[in-house]
């Protein structure tokens, strides 16, 4: 565990290599980062935070960052106010932009596949790989808190796969993907599926540098998922309603679900299929084929910022 900021722990992020061996146990956030420690931890003077901060909010300071705010109350107390106006996801978004450029430069299309645990992401990918064998050169990056069970299932198809274990982490971030891309080393012109950690909340905020986002929900989960997890559905380019073979046995209103998803995200594509029986897979395979590789798309893939776009 990083003693300075508490990031990572013994169960920190691990990235496998192609044959499944785990080498790297550095937590992503702790990959070389520094914490300046040239100060004293004394704090002899009392930190009375009695002055109001209200006047700072709502209007960016005109002076350049790092400039002392002369005349402002903190300065009067021997303190300096430094204006930052920096997005808290800026670091992730910068790494995501690098990943996007890296992928585009190699003409690789990358799909970030997200869902709650057990919605059928891995089953969908295994079937997709088998059905597109010979048509597309597919690689996979698997994200799970622990185990390489999903990567083992993908590996059994004969396709290259890298497992990321996030340990305590609940989502993949752009830094983890960057390291996994280095380990996978996908060939130019190939197709990459990134199976995110099963979670309908956190992954929505973290851009990885993918070319499209696919959200999978299964009919056993209930048709109110878009209302309950709006950020995820706002971020989606495609919503797949999986396990359609179970529709006769559950109370899931497909139309209601689609309506709610489109209320949040009017342009989102929606497909209903069963990755187990194969019904509806044609629409999904066609969607993948229609999604141009970055080289062909040229400037078509605009960067996105977390779940913040509409």
């Amino acid at each position: 565990m990083c003693a300075t900021c508490g990031c990572g722990d013994d169960a920190g992020t691990r990235v496998s290599d192609l044959d499944g061996t785990v080498h790297d146990i550095l937590p992503a956030a702790a990959a070389p980062h520094e914490h300046p420690h040239d100060h004293e931890h004394e704090h002899e003077h009392p930190h009375d935070h009695g002055h109001p901060h209200d006047d700072e909010h709502g209007h960016p300071r005109p002076q350049s960052p790092g400039t002392a705010d002369a005349g402002h109350s903190p300065a009067a107390q021997g303190r300096t106010l430094i204006s930052l106006e920096e997005n808290l996801l800026a670091k992730n978004d910068l790494l995501a932009a690098r990943n996007r450029g890296w992928l585009e430069g190699r003409g690789i299309q990358a799909f970030n596949v997200m869902s709650s645990p057990g919605a059928g992401k891995t089953t969908l990918l295994v079937r997709t790989i088998r059905e597109l064998a010979g048509a597309l050169d597919i690689g996979v990056i698997e994200g799970d808190q622990e185990t390489s069970l999903d990567a083992d299932r993908i590996r059994s198809t004969g396709r290259p796969v890298i497992q990321i274990n996030t340990g305590a982490g609940c989502h993949l971030d752009a830094g983890m993907l960057q390291r996994a891309l280095g380990a996978l080393d996908p060939v130019p012109g190939s197709t990459l599926f990134i199976e995110n950690v099963g979670n309908l909340v956190c992954p929505a905020l973290f851009d990885l540098g993918e070319s499209a986002r696919v959200v999978v929900i299964s009919v056993t989960e209930g048709d109110d998922k878009p209302q309950k997890y709006p950020h995820m559905f706002l971020a989606a380019d495609l919503v797949i309603i999986n396990k359609a073979d179970l529709l006769p046995y559950v109370e899931f209103d497909v139309e209601r679900c689609v309506r709610q998803a489109r209320l949040l995200n009017p342009g989102v594509d929606v497909l209903t299929l069963s990755a187990t029986t194969g019904d509806g897979m044609d629409g999904w395979l066609e969607w993948i084929r229609k999604n141009p590789h970055p080289a062909a798309a040229a400037a078509g893939s605009a960067p996105r910022s977390g779940g913040l776009r509409v």
């Binding site: 508490g6 990031c7 300046p36 903190p74 430094i82 204006s83 106006e85 997005n87 609940c170």
Partner: protein, 109 residues
């Protein structure tokens, strides 16, 4: 709990700018459409900032309001949730504010 890693990013972003100087105050602006809970950030901040120059700093979060403008009736209204619907019934709305996820400023001793 994505707020934990976001709070780690916050501490790193501040340290990048302040070096080893003791930080006494951190000011954030978090909108209701940002997907980040201010209370969760407050909870994480104490843990993440411990043993850094940010330890003990006052965290002030400006929880700005979500506002949108309707392109149909031209009315401006408060957004209660992620469903971008104007009271007039139109979904053709433009978000004016509420997505902010910013560290606006820090105060150093």
């Amino acid at each position: 709990m994505h707020e934990l890693s976001i709070t780690q990013s916050l501490v790193e972003a501040v340290l990048d700018r302040t070096g080893g100087r003791s930080v006494t105050g951190v000011n954030l602006r978090i909108g209701p459409l940002s997907g980040v809970l201010p209370d969760a950030v407050r909870f994480c901040f104490e843990v993440v900032s411990a043993d850094t120059p940010l330890a003990g700093a006052t965290l002030t979060i400006d929880e700005s309001e979500g506002r949108a403008r309707c392109r149909s009736c031209r009315d401006e209204f408060v957004l209660e949730d992620m469903f971008l619907l104007c009271p007039c019934g139109s979904a053709d709305v433009e978000v004016v504010s509420g997505r902010e996820l910013l560290v606006t400023s820090v105060e150093v001793a």
